[in-house]
Symmetry: C2
Subunit: 242 residues, 2 copies
Amino acid sequence: MRFTSQTSSDGVTEQFFTLDEIPGVLWTPEAARGTRPLILLGHGGRQHKTAPNILSRARRYAAKGFAVVAIDAPYHGDRPQDEEFGRCAARMRAGMAAGENPGALVAGMHSYLAGQAVADWRAVLTAVQRLDHVGAGPVGYCGMSMGCGLGIPLIAAEPRIRAAVLGLLGVHGLAQDAARVTVPVQFLVQWDDHMVPREQSLALFDALASTEKTLHANPGKHGEVPAFEVDSSLRFFTRHLS
Amino acid sequence: MRFTSQTSSDGVTEQFFTLDEIPGVLWTPEAARGTRPLILLGHGGRQHKTAPNILSRARRYAAKGFAVVAIDAPYHGDRPQDEEFGRCAARMRAGMAAGENPGALVAGMHSYLAGQAVADWRAVLTAVQRLDHVGAGPVGYCGMSMGCGLGIPLIAAEPRIRAAVLGLLGVHGLAQDAARVTVPVQFLVQWDDHMVPREQSLALFDALASTEKTLHANPGKHGEVPAFEVDSSLRFFTRHLS
């Protein structure tokens, strides 16, 4: 793990790093020492590790004492492109323009990325928890949309993750992995989502095997999650990871 | 308004009162002086103003600085019975036993009570806000199940109510009044409710005209709302009434 920059502002330290080929950012409370709970932040499709919603969420969580890490998903952000991925993305866009089932198209894309994304996250989790100011505390995962589509296979495979905030995605392609998710989940639905049909979202919530799971639905389109849901996720992680 | 008893414990003062024929309880922070936000608590069917879930919620809100008032709904708690209501309740139970649509049966019962319940609440609200330690601050309403069924007509009619926590009820008989509710709403659904079909709950959430409304769904049956939802409602009222 190689740190490439470090800055601090408003009580939060931000460290850019690479682990093998994976570019990432770690946020911790300024001058943090010792073990603390860690939140993994998975970004959405065509976004990256410092997209505005990732940055603001990360700084909010870190200001409350958490360590927070975000990485670029495969073929996103600062990572090298891939011809096959480019064709896959073009097929998805063409299919959507042609009115094909968006759930199936998105699921195909996520499935193409999931194997690598899960391996990346597991390596990053191991490396980050070796740092003195993070340590092997409880771990949470937060990801919407593609961050949910890659997060569910990760949580199904990774026993270190003890709570998750997920949502903005339907059940297509995820039912089997969702049935292996047993940790507490806060699940977000946008009631007027133009990309994810409502019944597909509710079916993914249903498919999660967790005995403690809460669905939060708000009016608005795919990206219009209200700001108070960030506060709500913070309290959820505080309850389950502290 | 006539106070019949007053006790204080754990920083909360509890005052039983009657206003005309309406028996009620007012909770305020101990030694409270001056105007504060007020929450009206509507109990469920066959419950009353000091049912355990009402008491614990009231004390929780009052400990955080709110004034809280609960009254017995018509023909509930300490209020006189009524032959017609008895027949109505018996018809409802018989209909349910015979497999009739429970949404329609429950709606019939609520509709029988709503006119009186709305008038009672409006009179109590006026009287309570005249007290020095309550005053004319912002007002919220919280009611589940029958408390929701009587609360929606109340909120539709009562411009002093500025935010509401509702739920555990379907749309039957409420669509018109729900379309007149425009204040922020937090709406609870029990995902495995044996008394309210899920799609009927979602339809009531849909029918609310509020631009800010959040649905919280949790696994479990009708009465099994998790304790963290009380905390969540407290933050909701704090956000909208403070």
